[in-house]
Amino acid sequence: MASNPMEQFTVHRIGPEIKIAGIDLSFTNASLFMVISASIILLFLFFGSKEKKIIPNKIQLIAEIFYNFVAKMISDTAGSKAKPYFPFIFSLFMFVLFCNMVGMLPYSFTVTSHIIVTLIMALFIFVAVTIIGFLKHGFKYLKIFVPSGVPAILLPLITIIEIISYLSRPVSLSVRLFANMMAGHTMLKVFGGFVVSLGILGGWLPLGFSVALTGLEILVAFLQAYVFAILTCIYLNDALNLHH
């Protein structure tokens, strides 16, 4: 069991089976860790915004740093028009970040290492951004596929490439997060397995690797949450401010 590095990604049911209209919606370990991550976020924000001090205490300061971080990210990439979407992007960033970070704890489950989870988020963003684009610009939004300043001969080719790149957005967005998280955790598991199998004599080298990889994975966990959020901002920017 310990030898299979993919074992950690299996989903199993916790508690009773819930079936609605023939679809299995049971509470699983994935659901449990979603709830745990969301609860940690809510608890953190609760204590971070409980006392309204002029000079903040530590937890309030951290909450405010997160707020300013996301606010700056949105205003830098998507401008002031993106302000109504700030709560969504903040929630998205916090959720992905905390799911990644909770996944770094031993014996925990990484929600974002499942393609279905990241794909649903990415598809939702894709559909929402497309709807926002059409609502704001009407059919002029299709101009996003026709960049200005391109020679007329190249225009059909460029347009096809633009359409493909636009349609591949949800796939690239979801696979990037999913693959990064899965690969990192698999590596950690593999090196952990080496530590056990090589024993007390030869296990020190993979143990060192494991420690280094853990640090790297914490960085990746933050970075992928940031990338996920900032790409959402960039897509939103395309929809809100039509540049082409």
Binding site: V11, T28, A30, A38, A63
Partner: protein, 191 residues
């Protein structure tokens, strides 16, 4: 590049063993996909509502409060600074006026004193001159008196000497004339 690479890996993995997930990736086992989707949407919806309705407004309020407080405090500080600068200017003006007044008073009092001293000096000089005149008069009077007394004394001395030497008394008038004559000749030597 990295994303394209991972995309191709994932796509091949999906196409090759989509329904044989036990062999490879549990992620591709569709048994709990619906459950994960359902719970993800539910949890994220709750999280989103809680964050957007409760927490973000609170944090924003707090940040705005702090910014306003800082702005107000800065305004206060600027106001106080201006006030203190105005007061310092006032103080400077008062100081300058006071200095002017002091020099004026100094000048005036000096003038008054000078005048006073001048007038007193004049009076004193007049007094001194009077005194000097008086003294001169006294001296000249004394001189005259001394002349006559010297003559009479020298006359008596002469008559005594002559009497002692010759035993005769000389005529007083002739003695007088001689003494007068000699003393007149030599008076300038002594007086």
């Amino acid at each position: 590049m990295r994303s394209l690479f991972s995309l191709s890996i994932a796509l091949t993995a999906m196409s090759t063993n989509l329904y044989a997930a036990e062999a490879g990736m549990p992620q591709l086992d569709p048994t709990y996909w619906a459950s994960q989707a359902f719970w993800l949407i539910l949890v994220f919806l709750i999280l989103y509502i809680a964050i957007s309705k409760f927490y973000l407004p609170k944090i924003k309020d707090n940040l705005d409060n702090r910014e306003n407080k800082i702005k107000e405090d800065l305004e206060y500080a600027n106001k106080f600074k201006e006030q203190s600068e105005a007061k310092a200017k006032e103080y400077d003006i008062i100081l300058k006026n006071a200095k002017k007044e002091v020099s004026k008073i100094h000048f005036e009092s000096k003038n008054i004193l000078d005048k006073d001293i001048q007038s007193k000096k004049e009076i004193m000089e007049k007094d001194i001159e009077k005194e000097i005149l008086k003294a001169k008069k006294e001296i000249s009077e004394l001189k005259k008196n001394s002349m006559t007394s010297i003559q009479s004394i020298s006359e008596s001395i002469v008559s005594d000497i002559i009497e002692n030497i010759s035993g005769n008394k000389l005529n007083e008038s002739s003695i007088k004339a001689t003494v007068e004559d000699i003393s007149k000749k030599n008076i300038n030597k002594y007086l």
